[in-house]
């Protein structure tokens, strides 16, 4: 087994509210993990710690050096007074040269137009959510973290999402999805987060 992420004794509290209590988690390459639990149990917090957006109070986080992370965390924030292309182009070009054909294709599958002249400010919640999913996978990232990815998506787009996830699984990506609504994409692990602890379904 190829370890790509390892959390050891991770603790995170906001004041007296202990959200993650001494958590251990080992994630292998090609794992497809479903994380669930009630509102406020700490799913988003856990994903933020893995992406480095939030520092843990205690414990160590290991991420395999040549893995790249793509993530959609909570409400994706884009630059509102710019177009979808300006946003995605800038993000893509931070590390690589943008593959226009590929991103355009991803957009089309979600019924978005990469060359739309409208500002993102005028996009609907679902459209922004789709942009959020696209940016998390467009650079061929090897680890993909998605926080409630299908929130706001219509039925057709949920099917597109499922298809894309299945392709990514075939591509040997490591995928972690935190959500309430269970949508089958072929998870190999299911983990419940409850009172600051992880319980893996056997």
């Amino acid at each position: 087994m190829n370890k790509v992420i390892e959390l050891k004794n991770i603790t995170k509290a906001f004041g007296p509210n202990v959200v993650l209590d001494d958590i251990d988690l080992m994630i292998s390459k090609n794992d497809v993990i479903y994380i669930h639990g009630p509102n406020g149990c700490g799913k988003s917090t856990l994903l933020k710690i893995i992406t480095g957006l939030l520092p843990q109070d205690k414990g160590t986080l290991y991420i395999e050096a040549d893995e790249t992370i793509g993530a959609l965390i909570e409400n994706p924030e884009f630059s509102n007074y710019s177009t979808i292309k300006e946003n995605l182009e800038f993000l893509y070009n931070l590390k690589n040269k943008m593959d226009y054909k590929k991103v355009e294709d991803l957009c089309n599958r979600f019924e978005l137009d990469l060359y739309d002249k409208k500002n993102v400010k005028n996009y609907s919640v679902g459209m922004k959510q789709k942009m959020g999913i696209i940016q998390a996978i467009m650079e061929d990232q090897s680890i993909i973290l998605l926080d409630e990815p299908t929130r706001g998506l219509d039925d057709r787009s949920v099917i597109v999402f499922q298809d894309i996830m299945q392709e990514l699984i075939k591509d040997n990506k490591t995928i972690i999805i935190a959500a309430h609504d269970y949508i089958d994409i072929g998870y190999n692990r299911k983990i419940e987060l409850k009172s600051g602890r992880l319980y893996e379904d056997q």
């Binding site: 992406t51 994706p76 924030e77 884009f78 300006e86 993000l91």
Partner: protein, 158 residues
């Protein structure tokens, strides 16, 4: 770099100077005097005073419009392990240079060089303070503080 937006920003800025220039009957001497106003500003008409202070506030607003793009994308930059601070700093420096272009073009002698350098320095520092401060009062007053410091700089480098 987002060239399109920079060009638009520069054109808007240029327009302001053209209007000012026209107002001074296309007399370059008067425009230079206006840009380099010192405490004698307060002996001018109220219109000139408002225009001078307005111009300084406008500089901040214009950059805010441009820099907003990077601020909103902060989280996505961080996820990609991009260096948010250096990206932001680079963009602020580019904007500051564009904003100071009229001053740079009007450099006269050593004192002029010192004036421009001090001006850019003070402007950048205040802009970054304004940006990083979560305090609304700091946000609102930094263009005015810049205005006062600019008058000082102009006063002491004549």
């Amino acid at each position: 770099m987002r060239i399109n937006r920079l060009v638009i920003l520069s054109l808007i800025y240029l327009l302001v100077y053209i209007v000012l220039f026209a107002q001074f009957h296309f007399d370059p001497k008067m425009l230079i005097d206006f840009i380099q106003l010192d405490s004698s500003l307060f002996m001018h008409t109220i219109t000139v005073q408002i225009e001078f202070i307005g111009l300084q506030i406008f500089k901040f607003c214009l950059i805010n419009m441009y820099i907003d793009f990077y601020i909103q994308l902060k989280e996505m930059i961080d996820i990609r392990k991009g260096n948010y601070r250096s990206i932001l700093f680079k963009q602020i420096m580019i904007c500051a240079l564009i904003i100071m272009l009229p001053d740079i073009l009007l450099i006269r002698g050593i004192s002029g060089v010192i004036r421009v350098i001090l001006n850019i320095l003070v402007f950048t520092v205040l802009y970054i303070v304004q940006l990083t401060s979560k305090n609304k009062i700091v946000f609102a007053t930094s263009p005015l503080i810049y205005c006062v410091l600019l008058i000082f700089i102009n006063q002491s480098t004549i």
